[in-house]
């Protein structure tokens, strides 16, 4: 019996990918769990493991081949001492789901007796479940109910039916909706002059679309509120230079590394801010897994430093460097960036004084870090100069109330201004 190794879906939204590297060659024996290839998507590079034991009978796509559709066969695995000559290979991209029989001639497979099952349905149960759900959702959200007359009128008048709200039963779009819409559209067009500026249309990448979708979801669903506080970072800078002066060029701790540690230490003090809204329940995280926003070409990604509470600054710093590098190279694995309980976004290096960040759903908070700069401060009726940093906490009000957010910020300030407390 032979098995087709298929292009895996590395994320629910992945449609295609590039075969970056083959880690096996034809004739190689593989065991379940062995790495066989590296796949590159718009987000990350991932390794593909063999699920079954056997011999790589044939490699169907070459290294570097792009736009390989998810579920397209990429190799054939021979099992039970089978010979390549005994099998028939069809490496066409399955445009339409076809019965498995057409793909591989394996007469022993009982599933072949179920002609109604398409190839997609015979892949790993979980994958196909996710995919089917997705297809279903797309259909549901795209299906428009409109009367034949309304459809024809919309076509004649070049009206996009998806922009309309139907007044008929179950939201069906009727003739009258088209007629009313025309007036609205006209008045809008009258009001907004069309710009003739030079412009360029760039197709949105799937990463761009994912970012857009997640941010819209966040702003639509999570009621954001924002709290800001100024932190004096003189002590923090002093501690940092002390630490770095002993490094012998073996390490270099950044202010950001210390902020990550402080954010984690604060979460341990204010565990109510380490939370996520799940409709029926609120989830309170025990770990402090800190997502750190990293700008990459064409977007941003939030790799996670897990269990920061158990990690020292050196470990945090090294991990951050590795993750940032991987992110820039597109080599993050899903587990590197999916999950996390709390986010940090730092725009200080651009000189941004303060800003409000959009919460990274399903997390409950994101901390926006501004630039460390010298400011005139007043203490004990005296004006003096100190290096200050403004941080802004965005909270999902469904899980974090104003008092909790305020408590978080005041504790955070305490850690930043007294970094030795983090040693506790």
């Amino acid at each position: 019996m032979s098995i087709n190794i298929l292009m895996p879906a590395l994320s629910p939204t992945m449609e295609e990918g590039t075969l970056a590297k083959w880690l096996v060659k034809e004739g190689d024996k593989v065991n379940s769990g062995d790495l066989i290839a590296e796949i590159e998507t718009d987000k990350a590079t991932m390794e593909v493991e063999a699920v079954d034991e056997g011999v790589i009978g044939k490699i169907l796509v070459t290294e570097g081949q792009e736009s390989i559709q998810v579920n397209q066969p990429i190799a054939v695995l021979l099992i039970n001492g089978e010979k390549l000559s005994e099998i028939v290979i069809d490496d066409n991209i399955p445009e339409e789901p076809k019965p498995k029989k057409n793909v591989v001639n394996d007469t022993n497979n009982e599933e072949n007796d179920l002609p109604s099952l398409s190839e997609d349905e015979l892949i790993s149960e979980k994958t196909s479940f996710v995919q089917k759900n997705e297809v279903l959702n797309t259909i549901n959200s795209n299906r428009l109910f409109a009367t034949p007359l309304a459809k024809r009128l919309a076509k004649q008048r070049d009206i996009d039916l998806s922009l309309l709200t139907g007044s008929g039963p179950n939201g069906r779009i009727l003739k009258i909706d088209i007629e009313n819409f025309k007036e609205e559209k006209k008045s809008q067009v009258d009001n907004i002059p069309l710009s003739n500026n030079n412009s360029e249309l760039i197709k949105n990448s799937s990463m761009r679309k994912t970012i857009a979708e997640r941010l819209v979801k966040s702003k639509n669903e999570a009621p954001h509120f924002y709290l800001s506080i100024d932190c004096n970072i003189e002590q923090l800078l002093k501690a940092r230079s002390t630490i770095n002066s002993k490094s012998n060029n073996e390490y270099k701790i950044s202010v950001n590394d210390m902020i990550i540690k402080a954010a984690s230490a604060t979460l341990l003090k204010v565990p109510k801010a380490n939370a996520s809204w799940e409709n029926e329940n609120t989830r309170y995280f025990k770990n402090t897994d800190i997502s750190v926003a990293v700008a990459i070409d064409g977007g941003l990604i939030t790799p996670i430093i897990k269990n920061v509470e158990f990690k020292g600054l050196l470990e945090i710093s090294n991990e951050m460097k590795t993750l940032a590098q991987k992110a820039k190279e597109g080599k993050l694995k899903p587990e590197d960036y999916i999950g996390g309980s709390f986010s940090i976004s730092n725009l200080g290096m651009y000189g941004i004084k303060e800003f409000s960040a959009v919460i990274n759903p399903p997390q409950g908070c994101i901390l926006a870090i501004g630039v460390g700069e010298q400011r005139a401060i007043v203490t004990n009726n005296q004006i003096s100069i100190a290096t200050m940093m403004t941080v802004t906490l965005s909270c999902d009000h469904r899980v974090v109330d104003g008092a909790v957010g305020a408590e978080y910020l005041s504790k955070f300030k305490e850690f930043i201004e007294n970094p030795s407390l983090m040693l506790l």
Partner: protein, 469 residues
């Protein structure tokens, strides 16, 4: 007087009122209905239903007269008009009893009496019910006026129940008259003309307008008119009634056709010149309720200018049809119950039926009305002579005419005359409600052999694709 406050009190038990009461009960509202005479209203007792029973009799008479064609011979056919009307009355009373049962089943409290509405508080209205047992008062949050209408008289002639008949007398004749003049060629006039003509009465129809069935498409009116003339019915259009003189057993009608006066003598005269809404003595004047041309004015959800007071059916604006009243009843009650997603009544999609021989049924705009509205139209016509089932039935006189908007394919109107067209029109009603275009109608499979194939062919003809014509 007790303290019960009904959610709804419906005044009038016709096809508007009783439907409103049942729907209100279904929606969990407490509801009472006040009826002065008979449950089922005019429709059921003195209109739609008993006339259909009469027309069934005259249709059978017509078949008996033409039975040779089918290979039978009968002789000595006699009409017992008393039995004909008796059957008609029996049908009406059977159905009226049915309404009483339905109301009981739906826990609608029925008061027999004449209702008058009055103010109580801002939110609560009072209904005084006068019956033979005295007066009692009920309270309600909402009132639905469904008092209907009665037949109109002319300034110089009133129905007397002896020589000058209204619909009621016309429906319960003691004897068949030799001759009959019918004033008005609307649905009621044409149904009586057809009925009495088939039973052998000499009938003359007087119509002030150019065409009989003036609300119907002209092509349809003409076919009915030719049929009636062939049967010996005297049709006088562009003719108005000037005066009426009643002698012992005859009526002399002075008529004027295009300014030329003449005199017609007949044994009886039927007034079928429209209706007057029943708005008198029901307390409307105590409220801010607008009346236009005798009918109560409402918004699209049948509410009058007075909050909590609704009006449905013939007491409101036309068309004055039982099915319009019933539909308004449902809409109005669902509005009161706070249901969402309601669609106001589209008056351009109310079918109208006339049950004379040949039957007439229509929906939407006539060709003339569409042209007046400057709609770019496409017209399809299919005569029943091209329909196999109609020929087999021996009833192939008639036409199906469909009117489409040439720009959009919208079915603008459908007009039919011929066998069983009153049963066919609902196909076009559904098509209009679902906003189909010619495309869906052309690609609908109509069963063969049926009269309904003529509907398909008419649509095809509008786009020059008719097969059998």
């Amino acid at each position: 007087m007790n303290n019960k406050i009904y959610d709804v009190i419906v005044i009038g038990g016709g096809p508007g009122g009783y439907v409103a009461a049942i729907r209100a009960s279904q929606l969990g509202l407490s509801v009472a209905l006040v009826e002065d005479k008979h449950l089922g209203g005019i429709c059921l007792n003195w209109g739609c239903i008993p006339t259909k029973a009469l027309l069934r009799a005259s249709e059978i008479k017509h078949m008996l007269d033409n039975v040779n064609e089918f290979g039978f011979s009968v002789s000595n056919i006699k009409v017992d008009i008393k039995k004909v009307t008796e059957r008609s009355r029996k049908v009406a009373s059977q159905l009226s009893a049915g309404i009483s049962h339905l109301l009981k089943k739906n826990k609608v409290k029925v008061f027999n009496g004449f209702a008058e509405i009055d103010k109580n508080t801002d939110q609560i209205k009072k209904v005084k019910i006068k019956s033979k047992d005295g007066i009692n008062t009920e309270l309600a949050k909402n009132i639905i006026i469904a008092t209907g209408a009665k037949s109109r008289n002319l300034p110089f002639v009133k129905s007397d129940g002896i020589n000058v008949w209204d619909y009621k007398t016309a429906m319960t004749p003691q004897d068949l008259p030799n001759s009959l003049v019918i004033i008005g060629s609307g649905a009621i006039g044409m149904e009586f003309a057809s009925f009495y003509n088939d039973l052998g009465v000499k009938v003359t129809v007087i119509e002030t307008l150019t065409n009989i069935l003036p609300n119907e498409d002209e092509d349809i009116s003409k076919i009915v008119q030719n049929n009636f003339i062939k049967r010996g019915i005297d049709i006088k259009t562009n003719t108005s009634l000037k005066s009426v003189k009643i002698d012992n057993n005859s009526v002399s009608s002075e008529i004027s056709t295009d300014g030329i006066k003449s005199l017609i003598k007949s044994e009886k005269l039927i007034l079928a010149v429209g209706i007057i809404a029943n708005t008198q003595n029901i307390g409307l004047e105590k409220f801010n309720i607008k009346i236009d041309k005798g009918h109560i004015v409402t918004n699209e959800y049948l509410e009058t200018d007075e909050k909590g007071i609704y009006a449905i059916g013939d007491v409101t604006g036309g068309p004055w049809l039982a099915h319009k009243a019933s539909h308004e009843a449902i809409l109005c009650v669902e509005k009161i119950a706070g249901l969402s997603n309601l669609t106001p009544l589209d008056k351009s999609s109310i079918p109208g039926c006339t049950y004379c021989r040949p039957q007439v049924a229509s929906i939407g705009l006539t060709e003339k009305a569409a042209k007046i509205k400057n709609i770019n139209i496409k017209v399809g016509k299919f005569p029943f002579i091209g329909n196999g089932k109609a020929i087999a039935l021996g009833d192939s006189e008639g036409l199906i005419k469909t009117i489409f908007n040439n720009d959009t394919g919208e079915l603008v109107g459908a007009h039919m005359v011929g066998p069983e067209v009153t049963e066919l029109i609902q196909g076009f009603s559904i098509a209009k409600k679902l906003e189909t275009t010619e495309h869906e109608l052309m690609h609908t499979i109509f069963p063969h052999p049926t009269l309904s194939e003529g509907m398909h062919e008419s649509v095809l003809d509008a786009y020059n694709q008719a097969i059998h014509y």
